[in-house]
Structure formats: C-alpha cells, structure tokens
C-alpha cells in the first residue's frame, strides 16, 4: 500500500505530530514557571522560592548526591512494592472477573480498601512493622493494589463474548482459551490498571516515606521531611517527584497503552 512517494510526506507528518504532541505540554510548563516567578516576586517573605532558587537547590542536591541517591532508593522501594501490588492485584482481579461468588463476596472489600485514603494506613503500618522499610512497602502496596485488582476484574469482564465463542469453535478449551483468547483480549484493560496503580503507588510511597522516617532512611519522601527548613530545597524535591511521576506515566504506561490500542484499532488519533 505504501510507496516511496508517500514516505517523505509521512516523515513530514511525523515531525508535525511530534511538535503537536510536545508543544502543548511545554507551553503548559513554561506558563507554570512564569506564573510561579511572578508570584515569587510579589511575595515579600521567603515562603515562596523563585524558580531560579529552586533550580539552584536542585543543582546543589544533584551535585552533592543527595537527590540521586534518594531517587535511586525510592525507585527500588517503588519497583518492589509496585510489582507485588500488580502481581497480587492481577491475580485477585482475574479471579474476581471469573468467579461470581468471589466477585460478590470480595469486591466490596476491595472497593472499601480503595476508598480508605492510604495515609490512614501509615499509623497502623508503624504499629505492625515499626518505623521500618517494611511499613513503607506495606502502605505502598495497600495504596495501589485495590485499583489494580478492580481494573483487572473489569478487563476480564469486558472481553467480547464473540471472541470467546470464536476461540471455543477453533478448539481452544480450558486454559488454552485463557492463554490464547481471554487474557490477550483483556490486555488493554490490564494496562489501564497498571497506569492507575502506578499513580497510586507513587503517591502512597511519597506519603509513607514522608511520615515514616526510619533512622538513616534515604528517599525522596524522606528528603521532604528532612529539608523542612529550606523551602527552595523542598520545592526542588517536589519538582523531582512530579517529573518522575509524569515521565514514567508518559514514557512507560501511556506508550504501552497507545501501542496496544493502535495495533487493535482502538486508538482514535486526531
């Protein structure tokens, strides 16, 4: 279908699409920084650090290694907790999607878990595990596991019946039907769950690190607790947390989601 004459045009469209994609978010960030600079200039006290002060604090934090080290430790905690939440949530969600009794008996509990703010678990986690790494991991898992479970359940239930019927007439039965038809059909819903769970895990981990300050603990949330007297340094850490959250969402989950949906013709590109 494609030919040499169309490839140059495709490239042009590609370049335009990248500009189209990156332009608006860049404009948004530029607007935010401008507004921030104005507010900082108009505020008489030091309570609002200027973008430049924040940038300096960030550079200093990067130079002396505190921010990179904190980021690394935080990411290790995150990957560990998020993986457990995703595996557990997926397994439970699939079970709830398949079994009506399980769904009717367990789903309300998961919804309840989802509704309780994850910060509410922090004191309980500290009583159970002490001010330890384990308490932080516990809060992160409890914060992200319910949304993964509910999304996996929904994904299983939204598999079009016609595809299951087609699979069965082609000879798929038992676990083959799950492996070759139902699970692949549910994949877009699982990815939605991953994306949501990521957001919750990140928030829960930051809250847990901020509150649970174990002796010698290093992490971005812990930095927030430690730098309480230096507003510019706090703003720098908040910026790092925000940027990591957005970048992972955009570069990993959003991309994965788009890739899968585009292949299936589920993505309407405007």
């Amino acid at each position: 279908m494609s030919s040499a004459t169309t490839s140059a045009a495709t490239e042009k469209v590609g370049a335009r699409r990248i500009a189209h994609e990156i332009g608006p978010p860049l404009a948004g960030v530029a607007g935010l920084i401008a507004a921030w600079a104005v507010i900082a200039a108009l505020t008489a006290t030091d309570a609002v650090p200027s973008p430049l002060d924040t940038w300096r604090a960030l550079v200093a934090g990067m130079r002396d290694g505190t921010i990179p080290e904190a980021t690394l430790k935080t990411m290790i905690r995150l990957v560990f907790s998020f993986s457990l939440a995703v595996i557990g949530g997926t397994l439970l969600g699939v079970l709830l999607g398949l079994n009506e009794f399980a769904r009717r008996s367990i789903r309300p509990l998961v919804v309840a878990l989802q509704i309780v703010p994850f910060v509410a678990w922090v004191p309980i986690a500290v009583i159970w595990f002490g001010a330890t790494e384990r308490a932080v991991v516990f809060v992160t898992i409890v914060g992200s596991f319910p949304s993964m479970t509910l999304a996996a359940m929904a994904a299983m239930r939204q598999v079009p019946p016609i595809l299951k019927r087609a699979g069965r007439t082609l000879g798929a039965d038992g676990w083959q039907l799950y492996r070759d038809v139902i699970l692949p059909a549910a994949l877009p819903g699982f990815i939605t769950g991953l994306q949501q769970a990521w957001g919750f895990a990140w928030k829960a981990l930051m809250a847990a690190e901020l509150i649970i300050a174990a002796a010698g603990a290093v992490g971005l949330g812990h930095l927030l607790a430690r730098e309480a007297d230096d507003v510019a340094a706090l703003a720098a850490v908040v910026a790092v947390i925000a940027v990591i959250g957005v970048l992972v969402d955009y570069l990993v989950f959003d991309r994965l989601d788009r890739h899968v949906r585009r292949r299936r013709g589920l993505l309407i590109e405007g």
Partner: protein, 289 residues
C-alpha cells in the same frame, strides 16, 4: 415444478444408506426474554444434513435459525430434542465444526496471518508448518498481500475473507455460517459467495456446509437444499432441493427460477403468518438482494 427443483410439504429424512453428518431431531429452543417471559425460538424442528451436502436455513429475522446454528456449533444447548453429530450428541464446540460468524470474529491483537496460525496451533499443527499453511490459505482467499495487516486495517469484506481462511485452514469437516455475508455490501458479498463456491468445487474431502441466511439469492446460489423456516416461533415449512450444476451464477436460468419459487414460498409463509396474527413486518426482512 421441474425435475431440478422439487419441493416437499414436510421435510423428510433423506433415504441414503449413509448416516447423516448432522441430525436434528425434534429440536426445541426456548429462551427467557428480557421481560421475563419464555419465548420459543425454535419449535420442534427436525432435519438431517448429509456428508458433503450444503444446506441453507432460510427464513426471516427472528425465526430461530441462528439458535439452530449455535446448537450445531456446540455453543448452545437444546431445550429439548436431540442434535447429533455422526450419530452422537454434540459434545460442545470443536474445530471439526468451523463457524463463520456474521461479525468476523478475528482476534484484534493478532495479524491476519496470526489469526490463521492460532487456529492451526489450537488444532495441533506443528509450528514449522503453520506459517506456510496460513500463507497458502490467505492467498487462496485473495489476502496473500495482507497477511501482516491487523484486522482493523481491512475492509469488512476482507475481514470476512480472513475469517473464511481461518475457518478452512484447519480442514474442518463441517463449515457453519451464521449469515456470514449478511453485513457486506453487494459486491463484497458476491465475491465471497464465489469464494465459497470455489471451495465447494475444489474441496478435498467431503465437507458439509450449513449456512443460515435470510437472503434468497445466496441460498439459491450455494445450497443443495434450502430449508425454509417460518417466523417466530421457528418451524420448518418447506424443503427445496436445488440440482442446478455448479458453479452457479445468479443470472443462470435455473438459479433465477429457484429464487423466484423460494421467494413465492416465503411470501406465502409470510401471508399465512400474518393471517395467524403475527404483527411482525416480515416482508421487509426477507432480503432479495
């Protein structure tokens, strides 16, 4: 009636010595409507389908013909009566009975070739052979150069071809079609019908076909035997044998006459059903395209 077209008042079991491939005995299918009442979709239907025969179930929408097909496919169970495959009750769905769904049920995460290869994998074809066999079948249905495309990139007619390739690649004994060309435009439908006729003539072993349709021309073009059904509840009202030679064209004199006769038959049935108080607008549902 000529010797090529015979109609019988009641569908009778065929007198062949050979056991029928499919036997439907006194089949009743009821279902619960959304309002909670019990609706009879299929009302005491009996017929046989012989090995190598092409049978069309023809009737207006809502006459229960899809229910019969689903039961033959093993996707649904009779409310009462028996449905036999090679003399034994149908155990469930299986690759010996391929189904062409009206909405081409291709797996959207697999390429067209991937869809055919999955069917081959599920029927135990060694992985080394799958790629070649999938390509061969896609070429057979005119999709050779679209093997790596994804289903959403194809037109409706091409998706239906892909489904045909997927169904035939595993060499099923029976091919069941649930109005497979019903949603296509006239040109795509004609091409697909030609494709099926070609399969019919070139088939290796004796393949048995049961197609459900509300299209009189399609039935006349493809079937050895047309079973005409009444509107809800679905009953068999006529059986029309078509002896016209293949490949058939719609403008063949014999095919045209079958179309006209069967159409008259259906009209009589519609008028009778109306006289009995059915208020469904059946006439519009009989597709003459």
């Amino acid at each position: 009636m000529s010797d090529l077209i015979t109609t019988e008042a009641t569908p009778a079991a065929t007198p062949d010595d050979q056991a029928p491939k499919l036997a439907v005995r006194d089949l009743v299918k009821t279902r619960r409507s959304t309002r909670g009442s019990i609706v009879t979709a299929v009302d005491h239907v009996s017929f046989d389908v012989n090995v190598g025969e092409f049978v069309c179930l023809l009737g207006p929408s809502g006459c229960g013909k899809t229910s019969i097909l689903n039961i033959l496919a093993g996707l649904d169970e009779p409310s009462s009566g028996q449905v036999l495959l090679d003399g034994r009750p149908i155990p469930g769905p299986g690759p010996d009975r391929a189904v062409l769904f009206q909405e081409p049920a291709l797996f959207p995460w697999l390429s067209v070739a991937g869809n055919v290869e999955l069917a081959l994998k599920l029927t135990g074809t060694p992985s080394a052979e799958r790629t070649d066999r999938a390509r061969t079948w896609l070429t057979n249905v005119g999709l050779g150069s679209f093997a790596d495309d994804y289903p959403h990139e194809l037109s409706a007619g091409m998706r239906q071809r892909a489904q045909l390739a997927r169904a035939l690649a595993t060499d099923p004994e029976v091919l069941l079609g649930d109005e497979p060309f019903g949603a296509l435009d006239a040109q795509a439908r004609e091409l697909l019908q030609d494709e099926v006729q070609r399969v019919l003539l070139e088939r290796g072993g004796p393949k048995t076909f049961v197609f459900v349709t509300h299209n009189v021309r399609e039935a006349a073009l493809l079937a050895d035997r047309v079973l005409v059904m009444s509107a809800a509840p679905g009953r068999l009202v006529e059986e029309v044998r078509i002896g016209a030679p293949r490949p058939r064209q719609l403008d063949d004199v014999l095919v045209a006459r079958v179309v006209s006769d069967v159409h008259d038959l259906l009209m009589r049935e519609v008028v009778r059903a109306r006289a009995e108080g059915s208020d469904r607008p059946i006439v519009q549902e009989i597709d003459e395209r």
